[in-house]
Symmetry: C2
Subunit: 585 residues, 2 copies
């Protein structure tokens, strides 16, 4: 397996001075030039990004809702105050600092102060269940927990089971401006409130140099089974990811991002560092707006008031904003949005473009820091009409700078990048997680032969464009071919009367697997839509060369409802089990 993959990686040695930085690559040295003993070559640390924020336009502002605003001079001082405040309560380099907060200036301060101290920032996913949050706190061995008042109930629910720390700092919006009010009571001891602790702390702190491979952040990714898995990133990785964003957005102008843009994240800061943009925008000295919670009207108001020009979010949020009654009354033609997280539909992309919003899709994972690809219209494509551009804007995009991607088949052999052949995406690059925290088994599954296995099935074009068609576990393997279930579902969805559809693979003695479809008919088509109607449609598509003959499902089953996961995605695992019981059992 993986016979063609490169094997030039050796494990690092666990000794105190050599760890993580031993060269994994051959050093060429026929003509050795020594380094002068006193010469200095700095490590690439997160502090190098922050240092830039004082140089160019430091009077630009960082804003939290209508509650708090400061310039970059103040921000730099507050980062130092936070480092001193954490030091004072006993946090040292190597400790892990957990944060549960809305998207705020406080969170941005933690993004810098915690890793710059040499500590690890654990950005807690507040959407997990209290039990899962407890699991991640315990698993990451957090040394302190910074928790917003709104999330105190979570901590109250699990506090007796937290063994890793008794240190808590409370974050509150009630300490700002007109919002001032009494803080919520807690049933446990805390070290105090964030702003008070900062006010008491010194604004000077000498952040030390350390090895650039020191871990900076960790957070947990959840699958459909098993416990959350902790990914982690080093200073070097986050530095280079920022350089990747710089190249992609200011260099190639995938979605043009200039230092004059006003940036507002609408992807939570706990979610893969808000895709890395807060570090990038801080380095570039952009005006930044942190919106707290995601209420459509409030977001639109903030967007207009602060003249926001650049955001990123999942399709659901974009849909909420585009469909908000307020959206029709305002000019959104200066707003640029990067979409990720799940697939951007053609309809939503069109609705956004019709409002003047520059919308493009990107592709990434928690494991990849996250950017792997993003839609980028080159010279020629800029001149295409909207319809043709939509074909591109709803793809996973062009492979990002410094990221390598390949497609592999079942045997781990590389497949051609012809825009047609589908295979599993494997990737490598300067900012991929090096494993899952304390989980060697899953780490080894993730990394095989020097490539990170994404579990996504796609084709890649000679133009470096990636089109995702499936998850590996959902792809249907029939007669040595991979049939992308998404492609068949797309064709079904174009048949008049089809409300919903799911296509899964079931075991077949001769072909390995064969596709099966379950369909929900629209009520008014209940009597008209049947097996024959659908087969006629599919046969015509086969005839027209649009799909291959073996894409046509062996059986089409009509059902009143299709099983879904808690977040509304098709639950293919459950569908497979139910279909097997029904048809083959």
């Amino acid at each position: 397996m993986h016979t063609k993959l490169t094997e030039n990686v050796s494990p690092s040695r666990n000794t105190s001075t050599l760890i993580l930085t031993l060269s994994k690559y051959p050093v060429i040295q026929t003509k050795l030039i020594p380094r002068t003993p006193s010469a200095y070559e700095p490590p690439m640390l997160i502090k190098s990004l922050l240092a830039q924020s004082l140089r160019f336009n430091p009077t630009r502002e960082i804003i939290y809702r209508d509650l708090f605003r400061m310039d970059y001079f103040e921000f730099n001082k507050r980062v130092r105050r936070l480092a001193n405040a954490l030091t004072k309560v006993g946090i040292n380099a190597g400790d892990t600092v957990a944060v549960l907060d809305w998207d705020s200036h406080r969170y941005l301060e933690c993004f810098f102060a915690v890793p710059m101290m040499g500590a690890i920032l654990h950005t807690v996913n507040v959407r997990l269940s209290p039990e899962q949050i407890l699991y991640t706190i315990e698993h990451a061995e957090d040394s302190i927990i910074l928790v917003h008042e709104d999330f105190l109930p979570i901590i109250e629910a699990v506090k007796d089971k937290i063994t890793t720390t008794k240190r808590f700092i409370v974050l509150s919006d009630k300490v700002y401006g007109e919002a001032k009010a009494e803080l919520s009571e807690t049933s446990f001891d805390t070290l105090g409130e964030y702003e008070s602790l900062l006010a008491e702390a010194s604004e000077s702190y000498d952040f030390q140099d350390f090895d650039e491979n020191t871990w900076a952040t960790t957070f947990y990714t959840t699958g459909t089974t098993g416990n959350p898995k902790g990914v982690y990133f080093s200073h070097r990785q986050l530095f280079l990811h920022t350089m990747g964003l710089m190249s992609l957005f200011t260099g190639y102008e995938a979605v043009p991002f200039s230092h004059q843009d006003v940036y507002m994240p609408i992807t939570p800061l706990f979610h893969v560092h808000a895709w890395g943009f807060p570090l990038f925008a801080t380095m570039l000295n952009n005006k930044q707006v942190y919106p707290g919670r995601y209420e459509p009207e409030m977001l639109l108001k903030l967007l207009l008031k602060e003249k926001v020009t650049f955001s990123h979010c999942v399709p659901t949020i974009l849909g909420m904003l585009v469909n908000s009654p307020v959206a029709k009354q305002v000019d959104l033609s200066k707003w640029k949005v990067v979409i990720g997280g799940s697939a951007l539909t053609r309809g939503l992309a069109k609705a956004a473009l019709d409002l003047g919003i520059n919308v493009s899709q990107g592709y990434g994972m928690s494991e990849t820091a996250p950017v792997m690809s993003i839609v980028h219209l080159n010279d020629e494509q800029q001149n295409w009409n909207q319809e043709k551009q939509l074909d591109l804007r709803t793809k996973a995009g062009r492979i990002a700078p410094f990221v390598e991607m390949r497609l592999i088949d079942d045997a781990g052999e590389f497949l051609p990048h012809d825009g047609k052949t589908v295979g599993e995406i494997v990737t490598r690059g300067p900012w991929m997680t090096q494993g899952y925290f304390k989980d060697p088994e899953n780490s080894e599954k993730l990394w095989q032969g020097g490539w990170l296995h994404t579990g996504d099935v796609a084709s890649i074009g000679p133009d470096y464009y990636v089109s995702i068609t499936d998850r590996v576990k959902d792809v249907i393997k029939t007669g040595g071919e991979w049939v992308p279930s998404l492609d068949i579902e797309n064709i079904f969805s174009q048949i008049e009367g089809v409300a919903e559809v799911a296509v899964v693979g079931l075991p077949d003695e001769r072909w390995g697997e064969r596709p099966y479809a379950i369909v929900v008919a629209k009520p008014e088509f209940a009597n008209k839509l049947n097996d024959e109607v659908i087969r006629n449609y599919l046969d015509a598509e086969v005839e027209a060369g649009k799909i291959k003959k073996w894409y046509v499902p062996d059986r089409i089953v009509f059902v009143p409802e299709i099983p879904k996961t808690s977040v509304g995605k098709l639950d293919k695992k459950k569908i497979r089990v139910e279909m097997r019981d029904l048809l083959l059992g």
Copy 2:
């Protein structure tokens, strides 16, 4: 000395597996997260920059005068052909490849193919004397020499003294298009002509991974005394320098550079990698124009024909172009120029701005790869009038991303960045040479206490703006104060009748040193300009608070001519000797 400087650097060990990549910084590891054995984190190599050139707009062109043009697909193939051609004639990783060429597509191919093979590119300064060129070839132990026909006389003159190689490849412009003609004869054996060797070579080559600290380039810098000194840069350094340019020019838009700009270098490619722009423009897929020789009319024609929008050059070249009769007849308002090498005068900057040229100055050295600072107008300064902007545009600029600069006094103590206090600039950053090749003595003088000593005297403002006032060896140290000779000379040059002036320091028992001036009067002022006239002017300036009292020279000597160096700069060393003999001897 240097009590405040950081001393966290330890020498690397010269063993075959650990060299250069041992961590020089403490590794924080209370909470150790192991790297998965098969995980891959790529080294930052020059090949990572080239890889991007195929992704975005690979159909853009690279052009050599009116002789040769190709797109990026072709360029990538030719880089591979060159690597194969060099391999075939016995060049291996670790060897050094010398190039003597005009600015051409061939040179750009060497920029990539040679370091990507693991070899070191030696960019030979063709303006040195044949003896100095011989010295650098021997000192760098070059394994092969690629030489343009026009520079064959240099090699003919010294060929019998070259001991390090007998391998020569001839580069010629006579092989392209209508220029085709017989190649020049050589009195020594060569391996053939560049294009023929490429034509015979395969266009596929698998560039291997190796340690990012592998040396990639070397070239020689000449001072007023001693042999040329060899600086050298690693793949990591050139990668990060490119990221620095990306941040500076596309991110902060110091001088706005977009992927849509048409780039033409007018600083030789042998001169500090043409300031790093060819690597940067190649990564960004810009259309690139290589002009060969520098003849003003030809440059302007090429500039207009290919719609060049971005260049860099020394003031002399800008002056030639601006003063060319052709310049008045054409629209240069879309042309942006970065100036470096020597000081941009206010007059030249104004003349360029009046033609619509966006002109800004940068500061760098051979030792610093080179970019250390560049003029950048922030939000506020963009709105200033031209006069006020000129004050900035003729400064050395704002400190570049990731570069650190400090001012030190004689004792090595740090001085304040108040925009007034002057001291020697010391610097550190991710792309500084780590010493001089085979020259430990000068290397140790360059690097002291972890800081690279530039030998330049300047003030630095709280806004990170750098104003250079002197070379350390020319500064006048009087009564514990550093008097910038440039400032006094500037005041002299404003006195009616002064044609030329030089101010130097001579020993003084009481003050250490005192300033002395020599002046050339304009012929028509020969009888009017005297000591008294000048002293009255200076006294008025002192009174007005424009200069300090101790800036007024002890003696003003009128001479018919001021000693200059071969490149036309004031020869302060000679002036000091002559003045001492004349006045104190």
